[in-house]
């Protein structure tokens, strides 16, 4: 029933949940970033699905085609992909800096190092 006709939506929800779960549950900073990217990509899939018109072609201006998909979500997602790539780049750069400073990219080891240093730490 719904699962087949709305397959893309279910896929987007599943991917978003997996991504978000990875962000929360993993302690490795790189794995967190992978989860974050997965989460963002799932949202892109949602947008692209919104733009799809059943039986429509790509939005090409030609007399032969009258039914075409909505190009606006595609354009939005091109922008969002740029944002996502930049986020990933900044995140990885920070992970490299953390590895350089702490010698690890495991979150619990970073916490341990901070509380061992005892510089006004909380949590």
């Amino acid at each position: 029933m719904d699962i087949l006709t709305h397959f893309n939506y279910w896929a987007a929800i599943a991917l978003a949940t997996i991504g978000l779960y990875a962000v929360v549950a993993r302690h490795n900073l790189i794995k967190k970033l992978i989860g974050l990217s997965l989460f963002q990509t799932a949202v892109f899939l949602l947008f692209i699905t919104i733009g799809k018109v059943t039986g429509g072609t790509a939005p090409i201006l030609d007399a032969a085609y009258s039914l075409y998909s909505n190009p606006l979500p595609h354009v939005l997602i091109l922008t969002a992909i740029v944002v996502s790539v930049s986020t990933l780049a900044v995140g990885l750069a920070l992970a490299i800096a953390i590895k350089r400073d702490y010698g690890t990219v495991e979150e619990d080891e970073i916490h341990d190092a901070d509380s061992a240093a005892g510089t006004g730490g909380e949590e």
């Binding site: 974050l36 919104i50 930049s86 900044v90 920070l94 953390i98 400073d101 510089t119 006004g120």
Partner: protein, 493 residues
């Protein structure tokens, strides 16, 4: 200069200035250039506010495309006020940066720092100026990405960990916003905020709209750092360079509050947000908890930047509380507090930067005896602190006055009592600062400390003098805020 293009120049100027700034290799040149840009932005925002107060809403068509198809920049009393707050803070903090940044950021490439700072400014101004939902998302990510970098530049290694934590939470928040915008677009076929507000009401199946409302609200609350979504904030503000803490504390969360106002009132409308969705029932307890817990945790902090970061969480609670009343006096209180808190907290973090500059520490114990040795810095810190408590004659009193009034109007006297209780808790942590600065002798063998340089003291005092001035002359801020509140509630102005 053609005044008609001011709305877009406001955003385009820092955006173009950012790469130009990177080309200026000498730190002094990059700093001077950034200062000039920030002053130009302040001048523009004052012109814009004057025009909006005189002629009403300005609608600017980007590239000449008519809304709702093209991107529209829509300036009214609320966002002009927010733009003024951001550019005023930037115009004061940028001159301060020269010495503070030179001392605290060890990397040799200061031109890159100023470039990223200008990008953060672009994003914040863009969020405030635009009338397009997707544009808000893009500008929010521009400002957030720039602030992750700025925070990560702090001298301690914990700055990098704090920036990473903020990056994860900030990106989740922005992506939630994107999901919400996608759902709205799916149901209405438009991204223009004004157009959306008309069409949302006509949607036959409301379920995706409810989902959109939930996603957008949660996404924005992460940016606003309302309890319990605040956990990125204390680390970020504590470990960022002092000037960056001051700038972000005064501007970034304020823009978050603005986006919340815009979506809740302009787009969904008060009737939808508060009667069909339980926004008041959610927002009010969370803000009250934020006020009490944020201020309460602040009492036990030893690091002053962390202390005032937790106090920010409490103060954000006051802003969110004002929004949750959905009444004219509540919203007036919230908008006025956006301005007042920006001045006070910006001033406080600048004063802490002065302390960091001379003593190399912002620990509470480093305050001992500083009341005599750095009298101007400490007086600034205390004035800001009293403003946070809401002592009469400071601007913090004005906002709390309106909030208490709104609570009494809504027959919620326990809420009014909790607002007052929050002030008492704030009095405790400010009292600890006063005690340490004035009533403790300096530790024996402490190195001699001089007053901070005047280039840093003047910006600090400008912000705090503004907070005192607007505590006495309330008519300017309150009239703008009242007009904004009436417009948001859809009342005839």
């Amino acid at each position: 200069m053609n005044a008609g293009h001011l709305p877009i120049l406001q955003v385009a100027l820092p955006l173009i200035a950012a790469p130009l700034c990177v080309l200026l290799r000498r730190p002094a040149f990059a700093w001077a250039f950034t200062t000039l840009v920030s002053w130009a932005l302040l001048a523009m925002s004052i012109l814009l506010l004057i025009r909006v107060m005189a002629d009403g809403v300005i609608s600017y068509r980007l590239g000449g495309w008519a809304p709702p198809f093209g991107i529209e920049y829509r300036l009214d009393a609320v966002n002009c006020f927010v733009i003024l707050v951001i550019s005023a803070v930037a115009a004061v903090v940028t001159p301060y940066m020269r010495q503070s940044v030179a001392r605290e950021i060890t990397a040799p490439r200061h031109n890159l720092f100023y470039g990223v700072y200008l990008l953060a400014l672009t994003g914040l101004l863009g969020i405030a100026a635009t009338g397009d939902a997707f544009n808000i998302y893009v500008f929010m990510e521009i400002s957030s990405l720039a602030s992750y970098v700025l925070i990560g530049l702090g001298s301690s290694r914990r700055a990098r960990a704090a920036a990473f934590q903020y990056l994860i939470m900030g990106t989740i928040g922005a992506t939630f916003l994107l999901i919400g915008i996608g759902l709205l677009y799916m149901m209405t076929g438009t991204l223009n905020l004004a157009d959306l507000s008309l069409r949302v009401a006509e949607v036959p199946d409301m379920r995706p709209i409810y989902a959109a409302f939930a996603f957008i609200t949660i996404g924005v609350l992460i940016k606003l750092a309302l309890f319990p979504l605040h956990i990125w904030l204390p680390n970020a503000y504590t470990h960022a360079p002092s000037a960056v803490s001051a700038f972000l504390a005064a501007s970034a969360t304020k823009v978050g509050a603005y986006v919340l106002l815009r979506f809740v009132f302009t787009l969904f409308g008060p009737e939808f947000s508060f009667e069909r969705m339980p926004l008041m029932e959610i927002l009010m307890p969370l803000s009250l908890i934020a006020i009490l817990v944020g201020s309460g945790v602040a009492i036990f902090q030893h690091d002053l930047k962390r202390l005032f970061a937790y106090s920010s969480i409490g103060q954000i609670g006051y802003i969110a509380l004002g929004i949750s009343f959905a009444s004219t006096s509540g919203l007036t209180g919230a908008i006025v507090h956006i301005f007042n808190h920006a001045m006070m907290k910006g001033g406080i973090f600048l004063a802490l930067g002065c302390m960091m500059y001379r003593t190399g520490s912002v620990e509470l114990s480093a305050l001992h005896g500083l009341g005599r040795r750095m009298p101007f810095t400490m007086a600034a810190l205390i004035i800001g602190g009293l403003g946070l408590v809401g002592v009469p004659l400071t601007s913090g009193f004005v906002s709390k006055w309106y909030l208490v009034q709104a609570a009494l109007e809504a027959d919620l006297w326990p809420v009014a009592l909790l607002i007052l209780l929050g002030s008492l808790v704030a009095l405790i942590y400010v009292g600890r600062v006063i005690e340490a600065a004035y009533f403790r002798p300096p530790p024996p063998g402490a190195p001699a400390v001089r007053e901070a340089p005047w280039q840093m003291l003047i910006p600090t005092w400008i912000l705090l003098a503004a907070s005192l001035y607007f505590g006495v002359h309330t008519d300017i801020t309150v009239s703008v805020a009242e007009r904004g509140a009436e417009m948001l509630l859809g009342l005839p102005a």
